[in-house]
């Protein structure tokens, strides 16, 4: 038994040492919280403030400084704006930009249009950039945010800031001064859900609403012809399969971001039951 306890004590001491070292032997860095959406009031913003917003996105949500830093993983961007005219004439340039502003936007959303020599993906002979499209995937900057970053890069590079502050602010911004998305209690009645998302403004359901089916299809017997999988896709990605005779982009595409998953299931149950 003594031997057993000695071995256990030895193992606990070893684990204790590793834990203590991890807690006290190295700096405890509190990573930034996940980026959250922020409502911006661009209408009241001056160009200086807009450039500052761009700088904040550049250092924060855009994660640009992960690679564009002095370690040399990606080119420094201090002089990029000034180098644009030369790059546009470069035979390796594959884009369609005609000026500094459009080049910078293009370089953010289509990075392989021009790859600075030595910074291409391994094995591609600088034809392909390792940089992701900042308007998609994990970074997902919106148009206003991309414009702010371009304004910042123009300013940083000593070029004239030609970007205009978008009138439609959309959503965007950095990591601080964030607001939590508005919290609400989950709705447990499918009819309340239809009202909450104003479905009846465009769709007729059981003889009510929908302005005679001109804007959206009549859903009164939707469950007879469509299964849950179709309905789910129609709710989350409305343009994926358009019903005959109806136009794209009329139904809001952000229902999936507003509806709780439990509510979605409830609504699907209800719609699938309309036969």
């Amino acid at each position: 038994m003594r031997q057993f306890l000695t071995v256990v004590a030895f193992a606990l001491l070893t684990i204790g040492f590793f834990s203590a070292y991890s807690n006290y032997g190295i700096p405890q860095i509190e990573p930034a919280p996940p980026p959250k959406e922020e409502k911006l009031d661009l209408s009241a913003m001056t160009m200086d403030q807009f450039i500052l917003l761009g700088e904040r996105i550049y250092n924060g949500k855009g994660t640009c400084t992960l690679c564009h830093n002095e370690l040399g993983r990606a080119p420094l961007l201090d002089t990029t704006a000034a180098a644009v005219p030369e790059r546009l004439k470069d035979p390796r340039y594959k884009g369609e930009a005609e000026d500094v502003e459009s080049y910078l936007i293009e370089s953010l959303v289509q990075p392989s249009a021009f790859v600075v020599a030595g910074f291409g993906k391994k094995g591609t002979n600088d034809a392909e950039s390792p940089m992701p499209n900042v308007a998609a995937g994990g970074i997902s900057l919106n148009e206003a945010e991309v414009a702010a970053v371009v304004a910042y890069l123009q300013d940083k590079g000593g070029a004239e800031v030609t970007v205009e502050i978008p009138e439609d602010a959309g959503q965007g911004g950095g990591d601080d001064e964030e607001e939590e998305p508005e919290a609400r209690d989950a709705i447990d009645d499918p009819k309340d859900l239809l009202a909450k998302f104003t479905c009846d403004a465009c769709h007729m359901i059981n003889g009510e609403g929908g302005e005679g089916g001109e804007v959206g299809p009549n859903l009164s017997r939707i469950g007879a012809g469509r299964d849950r999988a179709y309905l789910r896709r129609a709710l989350l990605d409305p343009n994926a399969d358009l019903a005959k005779g109806y136009e794209a982009d009329l139904m809001p595409a952000d229902i999936g971001e507003q509806i709780y998953v439990a509510e979605l299931e409830l609504l699907l149950d209800y719609l699938a039951g309309l036969k």
Partner: protein, 606 residues
């Protein structure tokens, strides 16, 4: 009194856990998930595929149950399941190898040792299944929408996983319970074949489970919105699948070796007779040998995995090595250093079994100095976190002299040197009890010295040149030629050694059991460090996705979406490691109890 043929144990609990897990998989894979599954749309004008995009979740979509921290619950279940799974997948691999050695040498000790290994593994197998069920339930309870989404894509592979689990159980039980029945001649070949099937099924199980987790890191077979294309193979064969497969396969063997080594060490310390001590010393040596053999290529497999993570997503790669997780690699350095030092220390102590080892003991201190030096290089951080005063005093975030040791080429050089010197320790151990009789022994030794010297010089040159005289893009270019040099030195010298010592005289019989008790603590240290290191690296592998369940496709909107500090992560790993150790002690105890018999005098009639 020992019973060499223990009866019922693991199967009952394993089957219960398995049936529960299977029911859950079926329920989720073919029950409510049905709504998401592919069904050709009936109506006209509808596209053929009908999978939904990945759900966009809000904090309200994550159930809170009895105040339990969801992330920690899933984390601990997953980690415990993984440790046991690694163990039970690894043990059959080297049991198979040992059985082959036993059949070739006709030395029954190997067969007995293989049987003892598998006996330890079989109870662990039950616990693996139970913990797998625990992981499944905790995922379903705490992250229902993530599980639903993943089971939409992997429902078929989950079904095959369940079937393979049946096959694994059946083969394992025949393999274990039939050990003494299937002996000699053709029957032994049948038994060996069962071992091969057991390994094939076990490895396939691991590959399937790896596909699910690598899909979360490098999703494939889905579009940008997460809509599944219907091609299950594309989702399985995602970008990081094979790098993880290779890394886990090698690591499992090293880990299994270290746990069995700890078992043998404990049995050695509590053994009462010399014969028993000799047996467990021999068992510990073999387990440690297997662990080291797998430990040597492990850094290369890890490097390949990290390189592939970079290739898949530069952002994820930088988060891993240059971002918030960078300091974790300093902790890793401490652990790897511990592994190498304890493995070498055990070898050096083990040289005491031979009377001829004195010829080599004078070199050990130099090997120790090199290993510690290499460890310190690996341990040196690049960027220091400093106060303003400290920053001014130092003149920047990098130390002027030691700072350059913080970059990757220096660390690659250090680990290659560590591996080469560990191989040298092993060669000394092999030579300790032998005297070469070939006429060209001096020339052979000279060639070996030249091989080691030029190899180490080449590794140093590559590291220094690429690390300090090229720009960042080419800094890691040294890694592949460095690895090739290391492999060439090890393979070349061991091959040459086998020729030099062909027909060699033995100094005397090896004295198994003649090893100090403290050497056994090196084996415990190896097992504990390995366990903890796996927990830590598992955290980083999963953590680099940050606030994504499925990278760039399904965002984690739970209250636990933030990345914790390394101290917090280390504490969770420590708690899980202590739980694991308690369970392993239970497994070892059960293995011991199964062999004990009580004769109750006067209890039974007649």
């Amino acid at each position: 009194m020992k019973d060499p043929h223990p009866t019922q144990r693991g199967p009952a609990s394993a089957m219960i856990a398995f049936v529960v897990a299977l029911a859950a998989v079926f329920l989720l894979a073919f029950g409510p998930v049905d709504a998401l599954a592919a069904e050709p749309a009936a109506a006209d004008g509808v596209a053929a595929g009908s999978y939904a995009p990945a759900p966009k979740l809000t904090a309200a979509d994550y159930p809170t149950i009895a105040g339990i921290n969801s992330r920690v619950a899933v984390w601990i279940f997953a980690q415990l399941h993984l440790w046991f799974a690694a163990f039970v997948l690894a043990v059959p691999i080297f049991v198979f190898i040992i059985e082959v050695i036993g059949m070739r040498t006709r030395d029954k000790r190997y067969d007995d040792m293989a049987y003892e290994f598998i006996k330890v593994a079989i109870t662990a197998y039950s616990l693996t299944a139970i913990l797998g069920g625990g992981l499944l339930f905790s995922l379903i309870l705490f992250y229902p929408h993530l599980f639903t989404y993943l089971s939409t894509i992997f429902s078929a592979s989950m079904f095959y996983y369940a079937l393979l689990f049946f096959a694994e159980s059946a083969v394992l039980y025949v393999y274990y319970y039939g050990w003494h029945w299937l002996q000699g001649g053709f029957k032994k070949w049948v038994h060996l074949s069962l071992g091969l099937i057991l390994n094939a099924v076990g490895t396939t199980l691991m590959l399937l489970a790896n596909a699910w987790l690598t899909f979360m890191m490098s999703p494939a077979g889905v579009d940008a919105a997460g809509v599944f294309s219907g091609d299950a193979w594309a989702a399985i064969h995602n970008f990081l699948w094979n790098p993880i497969n290779i890394h886990r396969f090698v690591a499992n063997i090293a880990y299994g070796g270290s746990i069995v080594g700890a078992y043998a060490a404990f049995k050695f310390l509590t053994a009462t007779g010399n014969q028993e001590k000799a047996h467990y010393d021999w068992m510990g040596y073999n387990a440690n040998f297997i662990a080291i053999c797998a430990l040597l290529p492990l850094p290369f497999a890890g490097y390949y995995l990290a390189a592939e993570i970079y290739a898949y997503s530069q952002q994820m790669g930088i988060t891993l090595m240059g971002g918030i997780f960078a300091w974790l690699f300093i902790i890793q350095a401490v652990l790897i250093g511990t592994l190498f030092l304890s493995a070498n220390y055990y070898l050096w102590c083990g040289m005491g079994r031979s009377d001829g080892a004195k010829r080599y003991t004078k070199y050990i201190k130099y090997i120790a100095i090199v290993l510690i030096g290499a460890f310190l290089v690996w341990f040196t951080p690049h960027t220091l976190v400093l106060t303003n005063e400290e920053l001014k005093a130092l003149g920047g975030p990098h130390h002027k002299i030691l700072g350059p040791l913080g970059i990757m080429p220096a660390k690659n050089t250090a680990v290659n040197v560590m591996i080469i010197f560990t191989a040298l320790s092993f060669m000394f151990y092999r030579r300790a009890n032998k005297v070469a009789t070939v006429s060209w022994v001096n020339a052979g030794n000279a060639i070996q010295v030249a091989l080691f010297t030029t190899g180490i010089a080449n590794i140093m040159f590559l590291g220094i040149y690429h690390g300090y005289f090229t720009n960042t893009v080419y800094k890691v270019a040294a890694s592949i030629p460095q690895v090739l040099t290391t492999v060439a030195v090890i393979v070349g010298s061991i091959t040459l050694d086998s020729f030099i010592y062909r027909g060699a005289k033995e100094v005397g019989p090896l004295h198994w059991g003649r090893i100090p008790g403290r050497a056994q603590y090196a084996l415990f240290l190896l097992a504990v460090s390995f366990t903890w290191l796996m927990g830590l690296m598992g955290y980083i592998r999963s953590g680099i996705r940050q606030h994504w369940h499925v990278l760039d496709i399904m965002r984690d909107a739970s209250p636990d979406a933030f990345t914790p500090t390394l101290g917090y992560a280390a504490n969770v790993v420590s708690v899980a490691a202590i739980l694991f150790m308690a369970m392993v002690i239970f497994v070892f105890w059960i293995a011991q109890v199964s062999g004990s018999k009580t004769l109750p005098a006067g209890y039974w009639k007649g």
